[in-house]
Symmetry: C2
Subunit: 316 residues, 2 copies
């Protein structure tokens, strides 16, 4: 099958044998895959990953240990945990120290015609959710993770800093809380959903301090800017995984008693519910759909400033 | 009166006029004052403070807007808030943007024969608490602040990194939760209270990861070490105010979904209760009591590695 691999700092399309599934694993034919900022960081050397890139996908089960799954449309959680270590038994399988992570760490990813994943990682996509929406499940789950970690009240004032791929989803999820949500960014202010305040990045100095600030810039300097927007005893949520972030203002965090919450992967079921109900519609975020053969170009396109979600269609 | 002032990077004893109290302010004769790591950082340039140093004290009220306070033994909260701004009205007076802070920011401190403070900042010292214990109220309140911010359960595993002045108090407060508390430090392991595990700083690599790590080293590199000791989704509390901390492992915080909590001043009433009940006895932490005239020497002594609490007695 064709697959997009990263090897050092090179990205290329290669023909590789399809993987044979191991015990408990299913084979999924990928129908759509999404390019994420983390993919671009990996190409720059983050995580030192080598192999097939990609961790956002939807597809159709071709084979499975449980035949009932064959032919179903699915999305897949990216962390493959051991299930038996103390961390897994404590209910934190996404942090299993022995985990592999699809397209990120020790396991091939979804920029390919097929992907092999544990059946336990798969979630069925509801009928009303298109492939083009379902492929957003993984980043939408990451947006939901903010609410798993930080209670947001309807009276809170929330700033989402960075209106790229992830920031747009975080804005949409947090706006559902009834809180006053402001999106701050250099572009895509027009894509913000109704009721969300739009603030140009250059106007950030005039903002009142927020109870909660979510840093989604993906830029090395974003954390320092975000730190300046949160009120004393407020909460700063870090969603960006930047290869080399700028040193943050730690002393200010102590003086202002800021809580800083690192936030990564989130729960798939609520993300699928938000897609099925239509409460979150990610489709306006699609910038382009390219064939797998154009994978290198897709990554380059996704890396251009202001470009939102680039999807890959392995059938093309 | 005699006072120890910091002026740029110089510290000296001077004779200054006693301050006249403003509306609502009391005059307190200082009987004991304590040297804190923050004082040493201020001498190095932190906060750019100039004036009378010192923010840990106990004393006797000489004059007060309410005569009932005259002659009482008191300790005093260090933040003087406006009481009327949105931050104060939201219940966060210690973060009032217009605040002055005794011996730290815009207000003279306690390394003097007398100090002027708003009566609202004073707390009466219970009869059974000696001056030498009461002078620890402020740092003990800062230790209590950890529990104000982070719920600690009896089944948690807690590491306190740094067993200096503040770390020793944090250990004592957190041990009261019933949690498994480990103190990690270069010295003073023998001062840890019964039931608290003692781990030499050099043996830190072998430790199991902790649910909660409290960083009390006061050293630029402490935050990075503390980050390596906390489990995924655990909490890292920052107590050190270091003038120039080393850049922390922010990407690791995101990957491991660490919560980082900046922690500063705390509530005086529980600290006074812990002293009165004897649940916390800080007196073994006293390294020396010097006269105010020896203030510069006291600061130098407090700055020596491994030296715990140096107290000043202005009557000497």
């Amino acid at each position: 099958m064709r697959a997009l691999i990263v090897d050092g700092e090179r990205v290329r399309i290669v023909d590789v044998p399809s993987h044979a599934p191991g015990p408990g694993e299913a084979v999924v034919r990928v129908t759509r895959a999404g390019v994420c900022a983390t993919d671009l960081e990996i190409v720059r050397g983050y995580m030192g990953f080598r192999g097939i890139l990609g961790h956002e996908f939807c597809g159709v089960v071709e084979s499975s240990p449980d035949p009932a799954w064959t032919g179903r449309r699915v999305v897949g959680e990216i962390n493959c945990a051991c299930g038996s270590c103390p961390t897994c038994r404590a209910g934190r399988p996404t942090h299993c120290p022995g985990r592999t992570v699809m397209g990120i760490q020790g396991r091939d990813g979804a920029f390919a015609e097929r992907i092999v994943l544990p059946l336990a990682n798969l979630h069925a996509v509801p009928d009303g959710v298109s492939d083009e929406a379902a492929v957003f499940t993984e980043p939408l789950a990451a947006a939901c993770e903010v609410l798993e970690q930080v209670p947001i009240r309807p009276t809170d004032r929330v700033v989402v800093l960075g209106l790229g791929r992830l920031g747009q989803l975080v804005v949409r999820v947090l706006a559902l809380t009834g809180a006053q949500v402001l999106g701050v960014g250099r572009s895509h202010l027009g894509l913000l959903p109704p009721g969300v305040g739009a603030v140009a990045a250059d106007d950030v100095d005039g903002l009142d301090l927020a109870d909660i600030v979510v840093e989604c810039t993906g830029a090395p300097g974003g954390l320092a800017i975000a730190s300046g927007l949160v009120r004393p005893r407020g909460t700063l949520v870090l969603k960006s995984t930047v290869h080399q972030p700028a040193p943050p203002p730690v002393t200010g965090w102590v003086l202002n008693e800021i809580t800083v919450v690192g936030s990564r992967c989130g729960p798939f079921p609520p993300a699928l519910r938000l897609l099925a109900s239509g409460l979150v519609d990610p489709r306006p975020l699609v910038h382009a759909v390219l064939g797998l053969s154009d994978g290198a170009a897709a990554l380059a396109e996704a890396g251009r400033p202001g470009v939102l979600k680039v999807l890959l269609d392995p059938a093309r």
